[in-house]
Symmetry: C2
Subunit: 335 residues, 2 copies
């Protein structure tokens, strides 16, 4: 099953203490191209950065790549607002990087990006696709869009301690800037993306809508950012009733608990949760995921949903990928 | 082994009776995106065109895809001057479509495209890559570059009757426009590409140079256009002495005879010729290749060089790909 990965940036990631992957301007802008390169080439190519947290938790791209090297699946990367070049092949959606949502009109091209992605979604001939994302700061913009749509759905975090109060404060400020109340964009999802979202949400929703329109089944691959994308699709006019799956990791499920089931129910998503058994490994990368870091991203949960039966081969392969990325295999000390 | 495919356009293809794939403006501009989509998705996606000759000879992309579906290899498409959008993921080299070489300065961005491709070539982490091309009209621009470099090497054609006199006349006119004599660009290969070449030649030469510089082995995948690209590399300063392979089809070898061996020797290329045994099939696609149509392109000879032993599975798969492309399997009537 092809993984379609929407990759981009938002300056929202630069707000203090909001994102691991967006902690510095360099990480914010380099993580999506590096993730795309890891997925395509197995390691960063043109990108000077390997996205690894200070405690040794690798980007979920490493896990998705490990699954790819185990079971094999094709990849199409959608470029939805890069601030840096990449040697990974991408479909150019003509998107600009997203602005800080506390400033007016952070995604002025939301409709154009949605339509460009929709065209690609219609064109992709596969019968069934995974759709994932990589965008530092994306859970905050996801929360903004969910609030603007009036969907009472919480968001997760790539940090073990979710800075949820900080995110809520940012979103409140963003709604205020845009003079939006909760639910004001219900039925006008691209308005929500334009005013408090990010370009990757426009791309994920667009490619999903286009794929569904042309009879391709879609499995959203990820956590709460994909819930926001699903909400954008469900609030739209065209494919609001089409069957739609959400495949995520056990790490997101553990973090969200019943809220995840309720959100999936609310948005009429068939939910698939996959546990890769990282607790059976001492490798630092897997230990960090078990400690609540990373959790999801770069289509990780969707990729894991393609694995039949047991995950020993994926875990072994993840160690190989981590070695290639220069991640020491010892057990991490934690933060 | 990864296939890196440089794809682009030149208005030279629109000159009457010069190219099968460039016979009309629509075919000229749609063939490279369609080829990229066939390679990536197995069929045209966003492109409205399936490149098939009037006699039923499919684009070599169909053969390369059939090999890909048989033995499996990754693909990176370099966008070196598209006139139409594509749903295939590509690395954007910032190239404009090439102009008609009879008009001055048809590839003003030759150096920039070469450098962009060189950066990608350096970045790709693979140990060994194939480098191929798709550009309608490309053998004429190849002849132009070979003449400007002073390399006495002939070019092939995708038509059974090579309109070589026509090509020579076009190249003479181009050299005249640029006030260039034969060999005037020896040692200045990007000047040759800029004044009488096309953007795909700049991309192929650039990615090859960058790959060789970073220790990646390169197998040029194609016919006489790849000879011109090899000449550009050999006339450059950086990797003029690096080992370099050329993998082509038995159809090009049959067409070129000893001239191919001499050209490979002249440019210090290790030559691999692969015969896919299309004469064992009655399928129209393979019959047309045996009749001298198509011959090469889209990395076909390089892809075939990856097949171990016998080619029955590739031929069977080519029939599947042709069915998908809507090509009737009966024996063609010929032109």
């Amino acid at each position: 099953m092809r993984l379609v990965l929407a990759a981009g940036t938002t300056e929202t990631a630069l707000i203090e203490r909001i994102s691991a992957a967006g902690a510095t301007p360099a990480l914010m802008s380099q993580t999506p191209p590096a993730d795309a390169e890891i997925l395509v080439y197995g390691e960063p190519a043109q990108s000077p950065v390997t996205p690894v947290s200070p405690t040794g938790c690798p980007t979920p791209a490493a896990v998705t790549r490990a699954v790819r090297e185990t079971v094999g699946f094709p990849v199409t990367v959608l470029e939805a607002g890069f601030a840096e070049p990449t040697a990974a092949p991408t479909v150019d959606l003509g998107a600009a990087p997203g602005g800080d949502i506390r400033v007016a009109d952070p995604v002025p091209d939301a409709s154009e990006v949605f339509e460009a992605a929709r065209t690609v979604g219609r064109a992709i001939p596969d019968e069934h696709i995974l759709v994932g994302e990589t965008i530092p700061g994306g859970t905050t913009t996801a929360l903004g869009v969910l609030r603007a749509l009036g969907e009472p759905i919480a968001v997760s975090s790539s940090l073990p301690e979710n800075p949820i109060k900080r995110k809520r404060a940012v979103v409140e400020e963003a709604l205020e800037t845009s003079k939006l109340g909760v639910g004001d964009c219900a039925g006008a999802p691209l308005e929500a993306v334009r005013r408090v979202g990010d370009p990757v949400l426009a791309a994920v929703a667009g490619v999903t809508a286009g794929a569904l329109e042309s009879g391709t089944r879609v499995r959203l691959a990820g956590g709460t950012q994909l819930l926001a994308a699903a909400a954008v699709v469900r609030h739209g006019e065209v494919v609001a009733d089409s069957p739609l799956e959400l495949a995520t990791t056990s790490f997101v499920a553990a973090d969200q608990g019943d809220a995840l089931l309720e959100a999936a129910d609310r948005l009429d998503l068939e939910l698939l949760v996959t546990d890769p058994g990282f607790d059976r490994s001492d490798h630092v990368s897997m230990a960090r995921y078990c400690a609540g870091e990373g959790k999801e991203g770069v289509g990780m949960g969707g990729a894991l949903s393609l694995v039949d039966g047991e995950f020993g081969a994926v875990r072994d392969r993840l160690e190989v990928v981590c070695n290639r990325l220069g991640i020491d295999g010892g057990v991490g000390d934690g933060p």
